[in-house]
């Protein structure tokens, strides 16, 4: 995973609430066996709407996306995070995220920034004309107009993002603890291993 400490640039003022992962990447794009190239299908149904923000040249290459409540709800498809990465988006700002999406985003080095609706509304205004600055180390979002919003982030996730840590590698470093748990399980709940399929 690429380390990430700040994201700066234009932000796509999408603003919609309950954006499900079918919206972010429709099912017909899930047939791939690769993580690459999903930006082509990203927000396909939204992009069919005239004057949508995603096809506005003003926001071409914008690294930040601003959305409404419950962003990334629905399907667990990590293709949604891969599609955002492919679009060049490395931070999403919203009042709330679905649990699975925020986990998927984190695993792919996308920062999910939770801010109150009023702050999101203000950033939507700014985003129409000006860039936004997200700083992970200080946990702040700032604008050229002296706006400054702080956000919370899980300390473990923050460290992983800042250092670009491989979570599987971190867990495998605890292999002894896993083996000890398995040994205990085998003696206390031997019935847990299923009969062969």
């Amino acid at each position: 995973m690429q380390p990430i400490d700040r994201v700066e640039g234009r932000a796509i003022p999408f603003g919609r609430k309950n954006v499900d992962t079918d919206i972010i990447i429709p099912a017909q794009w899930l047939k791939t066996i690769s993580r690459e190239g999903l930006g082509k299908g990203a927000f396909e149904t939204v992009r069919a709407e005239p004057d949508n923000v995603f096809d506005n040249p003003e926001f071409a290459g914008a690294p930040i996306l601003i959305a409404g409540d419950n962003f990334g709800c629905g399907s667990s498809r990590e293709h949604a995070a891969w599609a955002l990465t492919d679009l060049g988006i490395t931070a999403v700002i919203a009042p709330s995220f679905s649990d699975i999406f925020s986990s998927n985003a984190f695993k792919n080095g996308i920062l999910t920034v939770v801010l109150p609706q009023e702050a999101v509304d203000r950033l939507m205004e700014v985003a129409a004309t000006d860039p936004i600055h997200v700083d992970l180390e200080s946990q702040t979002v700032t604008t050229p107009f002296q706006d400054r919003f702080t956000f919370e982030i899980d300390p473990f996730r923050k460290t992983c993002l800042l250092q670009g840590l491989d979570e599987i590698g971190l867990t495998l470093a605890k292999t002894d603890a896993i083996s000890a748990y398995e040994a205990k399980l085998a003696s206390e709940k031997p019935w847990l291993v299923p009969a062969a399929a």
């Binding site: 099912a27 899930l30 667990s76 695993k107």
Partner: protein, 475 residues
């Protein structure tokens, strides 16, 4: 004296491998279901890092999302290749990856094949008190048997394959207590739609839900699976129902469930899996069962629920500005006008299937309504997609297939099908479907498709009337 704990806390505590000071824990995963769509990149990741699957014996793979629901074998018993090259490649990737990594695999032509969330309980792979994951958000379904089950992304699939654990933080707990009994003609699907309508699509975010009350205690496992399945549509990653004698009776003798003395030891443990008196939930919601009617969605979020006796709501009636905007967009997409009675909305397509409603009781409920009736002339397509090969065979033994076919339905092979429009089963753009699935999202059943979520009996009622209809008027 130990502190009173919720069912969720008990299962969590039993699975902590390592606890860090910042609250993150390494949690052991007892059961991992794998399907063809969210696993190829995970197996590829293992291969590139030179890693193995740590516990193939706790893993089970089956294709379901992509497989066509038309015949899979020709007259000579040879396999019919999947026409779509991308779907075929994805299926072939799973067929290669499972044996290469030693993972047990149920193939598309096996009688046991079906939707992951149907075959888990059916095979006895799902057990009470287990932690269970799958790269699919409807993994929540297995909470019906008292398993802590939740959907994960592909990076987490890879993490579980490599380590048989996940790094997690404990969720908050939420109680949804339903008081009283459901009125006649009201099904578990109507209840869960009603609950989602009440608490909203993000009402359970950050929480693990436990469903409590007499209604659930008296409900069959099939009904409980429908309830727990849709926990995710209220934002909750997992939904639990405490295991009881109904659960044990359902599991006993299933192929992968414990046997003999192991069974007795397992049941003794499972009986401890109840929320203690005095345990505290972070959030509690009370629902009166008497308020629940056959429910239908009108919009493009599962929270957009009204009783079939109601009308399409006026977007301006919502307090929240973003909800008003969302409702206007939804009605535009759905081609509906505020104030129209639900029962006047015409439908062209019927889908009975999905991990929410494709089990034997669901098929029986629909067949009860269809018996001696025929689909209305306006119905262009009507599909029944049983949840597994075993459900299909049982339904055929009960003669349900003939009732469906005589009514004008197509009787298909098992899979996810038109729930998510990945395989060829799709609803055409601008056309309307009464569907027993779980999501009415924009484009979910195919680009431009308009979905109304209903129970199996209500889907059958829509089929015979050609419109959204109150099944209570037909029985």
């Amino acid at each position: 004296m130990t502190q009173a704990r919720t069912l969720y806390e008990k299962i969590w505590d039993a699975h902590v491998v390592d606890q860090r000071d910042d609250g993150t824990a390494i949690i052991f995963i007892d059961r991992h279901l794998v399907h063809e769509v969210t696993s190829p990149q995970a197996f590829e990741g293992l291969r590139m890092a030179g890693r193995k699957v740590r516990r193939p014996d706790l893993t089970l793979a089956v294709p379901d999302h992509n497989v066509p629901t038309t015949a899979r074998l020709d007259a000579d018993g040879n396999r019919i290749p999947i026409a779509d090259p991308e779907s075929r490649a994805q299926l072939e990737a799973l067929e290669r990856n499972a044996p290469a990594f030693g993972v047990p695999y149920i193939s598309a032509t096996d009688i046991r094949q079906g939707i992951v969330h149907v075959i888990g309980p059916e095979q006895g792979f799902t057990l009470p008190g287990c932690t269970m994951v799958c790269g699919d958000s409807h993994t929540a379904a297995h909470g019906a048997l008292g398993a802590l089950a939740f959907g994960i992304g592909t990076s987490e699939v890879e993490h579980v394959l490599a380590t048989q654990t996940l790094q997690l933080k404990r969720s908050k707990s939420m109680e949804i207590r339903v008081e009283g009994d459901l009125p006649a003609g009201v099904s578990p699907k109507d209840l869960i739609l009603h609950i989602i309508g009440q608490i909203g699509a993000a009402g359970g975010t950050g929480h693990v839900v436990e469903y409590r009350g007499r209604v659930f205690e008296q409900m069959s496992i099939e009904g409980r699976l429908t309830i727990a399945n849709m926990s995710i549509e209220a934002g909750a990653r997992a939904g639990l129902i405490a295991p009881d004698d109904t659960t044990f009776a359902y599991l006993k003798g299933r192929p992968m469930a414990p046997k003999g003395a192991d069974w007795d030891a397992a049941v003794a443990y499972w009986r401890t899996l109840r929320t203690d008196d005095g345990a505290v939930f972070d959030k509690s919601v009370v629902i009166d069962a008497a308020d629940v009617a056959p429910s239908v969605t009108w919009g493009t979020s599962p929270e957009d629920v009204v009783p079939i006796t109601g009308v399409i709501p006026d977007p301006e009636s919502f307090e929240d500005a973003s909800k008003r905007a969302a409702a206007r967009k939804s009605l535009d997409y759905m081609g509906l006008t505020a104030g129209t009675p639900l029962a006047e909305v015409l439908v062209e397509h019927i889908f009975i299937g999905s991990c929410t409603n494709s089990r034997i009781e669901d098929l029986r409920a629909a067949a009860d309504v269809l018996k001696g009736r025929r689909n209305a002339p306006g119905i262009k397509s009507a599909l029944v997609v049983p949840g597994s090969g075993l459900v299909k065979r049982q339904a055929e033994e009960e003669g349900l297939d003939r009732i469906f076919i005589e009514a004008g339905f197509e009787w298909r092979e098992p899979g996810c099908s038109a729930c998510l429009g990945m395989n060829p089963d799709k609803v055409p753009s601008g056309e309307r479907c009464a569907s027993t699935s779980n999501r009415n999202f924009v484009g979910r059943q195919g680009p431009g498709a308009r979905t109304h979520l209903v129970s199996p009996a209500m889907a059958a009622a829509a089929a015979v009337t050609g419109r959204l209809a109150d099944v209570r008027e037909l029985v």
